[in-house]
Amino acid sequence: MTQVQTKPAAAPAAAGPPAPRFPRKREAATGWLFVTPFVVLLIAFLLLPMAYAFKLSLYRSTLIEGEHFALFENYTQAFQDPLVREGVLRVIVFGLVQTPVMIGLALLAALLIDHATSRFSRIFRLAAFVPYAVPVVIGTLMWGFLYSKDTGPLSAVLPLDFLSSSWVLASLGNVVTWQWAGYNMIVLYAALQGLPREVYESARIDGAGPVQIAWRIKTPMISSALVLATLFTILGTLQFFTEPLILQPLNPGSITQHYTPNVYAFNQAFSFQQYNYSAAISFLLGAVVFVGSYLFLFATRKRSAL
């Protein structure tokens, strides 16, 4: 705080409670006025859709009965639907493998650019971040071409069928890693930049090498940024949608119409007009993501500082 204003000399009782800052009513009215646009949007595009999805999910629509209240029938169906189960399991496996790989890569890159302050490290920082600027649709298209046997260079190096059912999940994981590792690297790097440098100096005097400093001192000190980056990655992977949808036409056999819960909900709504069932899947997915991220934050609350 650079500017400290002198208090008006008129206040006589210095020992009493601090003088009321300003007419409370005016402040409250302004406060409400200022948050109104946001609150209206919050209601219209978050709370209302949430409530509507929940309501829809409690109804069923059949030719004989029309739309009727069915309580949790859609949810029972979703829990028993092997296609839902398969999709949920797939995004969980995907998240368990891809998240540590990407956060690990981002951490490694962040520690490297924090350690080596050369011109090359600045260029590298840009190179790693640029994929974030690319729309997911285009990033996925590019990798689709690169994976292809006809147009891509990868099959010459690795004789794999990248889009076959055994490799496609890993190929999708690579697209996500490529797109987001640099973004997370910058977040972690920013956290590293905020650390006090003196700590490294004393560690160095105690004989710690750069690797030890990076792993034993820097990494634990940025754990709150690591937790947040991990959280947002988990939020993203559970909602996995664009990448499988774009790669789907290249191999419809390995990327199915129910590949992820989001893809399934989308197809239920737009290919089959099953809005109620689709809403149930969406709501279920939303609940899982919400509870999952809440539990994650709770489990790491000492580190996340949220």
Partner: protein
Amino acid sequence: MTAKKERAGVVPHVVMGVLAIYFLLPFWWLLVAATKDNDGLFLSAPLWFSDFHLTDNLTTVFSQENGIYLVWLRNSALYAVVSGIGATAVSALAGYAFAKLRFPGRTKIFALLLGLIMVPATALVLPTYLLMSKAGLVDSVWAVILPSLLNPFGVYLLRVYTHESVPDEMLEAARIDGAGELRVFTSVALPAMRPALVTVLLFSMVASWNNFFLPLVMLSDDHLFPLTVGLRTWYMSATLGNGGEALFNVIVTGALVAIVPLIVAFLLLQRYWRGGLTIGAVK
């Protein structure tokens, strides 16, 4: 940057070099591929130039279907600018109010907001579509712009930033000088909030420019599509081969044209986005 530090940096530089190739390879491929015709794309070496057809490709991209690509480009820009500015304005007002104004319900709404940041946006796209279609707003620019104005994370960032970097004394002084609340906000708080405002603006513009799921669901008139949805329709008709030639070279060149503005903007605005991420990371 002592000599000792430089020497220690050989292994790190090799690792960074390998990673840089990984991150840049797709761009190199795209650049090379955009210079090839459709046959060249399939028959020549993927990572090196063969016959040069970039100008032909660009001409086709911009003339295909009566120049619809340009319409998509304009739509993307429109959605990004309007949503970006709108979302930033809404977040600035709310963030400032949460940080600096006392009003009943403030803590409750803010706690609610923190919880709602966790609600997955994509799970809301389908119900939002159904609500919008009831309101008769589907298949209009508003169907894409209005939901994009909501940015809970932006509000959160601006609240944190304002709380720490806009001194109460400054606001008080302006009030004592007789400034109204709106004036205090516009001429005292806003200038002090600038770094965080630029960040929220940049990131919400990028999010809108890159958005796919929302416009995909909301729009069926291809003259309202943003680039992401438009390119996908070309790509779908090329891969599924329903009618017409499969013009992969046009898609590749279209993709290149679509990412150039963003990459240029990112390079130019480097210090802003980097500074901005610091706001998010350090608390």
